[in-house]
Subunit: 309 residues, 2 copies
DNA sequence: AAGATTGCTGACTCCTAAGTCATGTTTAAT
DNA sequence: ATTAAACATGACTTAGGAGTCAGCAATCTT
């Protein structure tokens, strides 16, 4: 059995590794930035694998090299195999498992980081790696095992894939009371006319939420010109906490605000943008690690019920 | 990622292969009979793997070497990986998949072989390998992927494992009419007194069914001394077809007998021995091959409904 | 106790594959 | 047209692992 795999040369773990690195990085040069040797080596290793399997594993895409369908399959297969071996090694070395958790920056910082210790405990003292991703790329990353767990909006998960609901997320208008005229009622503050005169902070991460905020503002006739455009919502939150400006923030950020200092109102123009946040995982990946879906559902509850100080 | 797997030597496909061969065979010497070189090589390869993972993969058992629990896990992991690579290679080479089908000799010959072509078609022109196994070892073989499909008695399948019923199997007393006195009624022939004077053929394969037959005979007061003791039930069937002797045969063999020449009666002493034959498979293994359980259930029906000429 | 079986070890040889370097080819941007 | 980026290729050196052989040690059989 398996004679065909060994009767001719050309297959080796190192080659598989080289190919997989290229697959992860998306191209050869990105797999080994600044190392021309390694680049030529990976190029050769891929060609040797192609010769072994008798198939093209890559295709040209401009001057870059990307995976062919067969290459996609093989790279995922190899990733899984190396993963298994690594898990076995860790297990034998009595090192804890490691898991990669991905989410958008704000979700990670506000929702996930506070419960990381509890998550680690729940998963048998696993070592946890966090990675910032966009929603769209996250579901891909989970699908092919680069990320083990993701906190992601439900609509980004392909149906049939496993997930567990965590919480609903909406958007809120957050206005430091200091910036409002004395005696401004909550109802007054809900008026676009008031918004127009407030200094705003906004994200500028190119994400969907960011674009939606700007569109919504435009939709209600506000010429939205934020005073601060920040690379991340964390910075926006900070600016609000400093009472320097108002902002539209997702639910997950609200607990960080002091209600005595900041007025928080539902941001009605984005009601349709409300979304459910779910914990998403790759079924095979979790089976491999021996983590049952019961654990993961408990984990989702844990995240949902945690409260910030 | 996976740096630990490559930062030190000691891990290679060849070594994994050597280890797995030993694991399959049960000992080093059986893995390479008559080849002292290969034996010493495998011994070394195993030790190198043990050093790499920092664990014992084997333990002594008398002068033989068997797997430690960690070795068990690793060998199954490796088998799966090589299997995946082999499947991928075949797929790319546009060769059909191959599947190993196991069953007891009689079940294989009488029930399975006639439908092999149909099975192959159903599974996308797969190449099929048949292997003769005992029931007990079969369920083990399926569990760790050495055998893909097994036709096996239901009680030998661990509960929770996937299976599909094929048919009930009982045992029948088959007596060539030539051997009975003229005018012997069917009822007369059912009497142990008649059996005592008949020449019998029986299996002597050490299987459970064989032992049960002998016990049952003893139970009804027959001093069971078969005239022929054959290594396989196929030979027993042949002897009955030749009208040379009577025999106790399982349901699957009955269609090969001409009812005009051979009287077939239920063998009542073994009623409690009736069993259900099921098609059994390894869930992961079938997922790997992309074979759905719907296909397998259809396959079970196919086997059940086939009729011998 | 003698012999056979099974596995382990050391000391090699040989070969595959990893790694290095220089240079060529294709494609994209200016 | 020129330049730069990304990959490919040829011609090597080096290292690690496969393969071979001889001999030893432990265990079972008789």
């Amino acid at each position: 059995m398996f004679n065909h795999l060994f009767s001719k040369g050309g297959l080796s773990l190192e080659r598989m590794r080289g190919f997989m690195q290229m697959a992860e990085a998306g191209s050869i040069s990105r797999a080994a930035p600044g190392d021309a040797n390694r680049q030529s080596q990976i190029s050769r290793q891929i060609r040797e694998l192609e010769h072994f399997f008798g198939t093209k594993l890559t295709k040209r895409n401009g001057r870059m090299l990307t995976l062919s369908p067969a290459g996609q399959r093989l790279s995922q297969l190899i990733r899984g195999q190396l993963h298994d071996l690594e898990d076995f090694r860790k297990e034998q070395a009595e090192q804890p498992k490691s898991l990669v958790i991905g989410a958008a920056a704000s979700v990670l910082d506000w929702l996930l980081v506070p419960v990381l210790p509890a998550i680690s405990t729940l998963l048998g003292n696993a070592t946890l790696y966090t990675e910032v991703h966009r929603s769209r790329s996250l579901s891909d990353a989970v699908r092919d095992g680069r990320v083990d767990l993701a906190l992601i909006r439900k609509s980004a998960v392909a149906k049939g894939d496993p997930m567990a609901a965590v919480m609903k997320v909406g958007f809120h208008l957050c206005i430091p009371r200091r910036l409002l005229k004395r005696g401004t009622s909550q109802q007054d503050a809900s008026s676009p006319l008031v918004w127009q005169r407030l200094p705003f902070a906004a994200g500028r991460d190119g994400g969907e939420a960011d674009a939606a905020i700007r569109n919504s503002m435009k939709g209600v006739g506000v010429d939205f010109r934020p005073k601060f455009e920040c690379g991340s919502l964390l910075q926006v939150l900070k600016l609000v906490q400093l009472e320097a400006c108002a902002a539209i923030l997702p639910t997950v950020g609200i607990p960080s605000l002091d209600p005595k200092l900041v007025l928080v109102l539902p941001f009605t123009p984005m009601r349709t943008f409300d979304r459910t946040l779910v914990l998403h995982w790759n079924r095979r990946q979790m089976e491999r690690r021996g983590i049952e879906s019961g654990h993961l559902k408990r984990l989702a509850r844990l995240i949902a019920t945690q409260r910030l100080p």
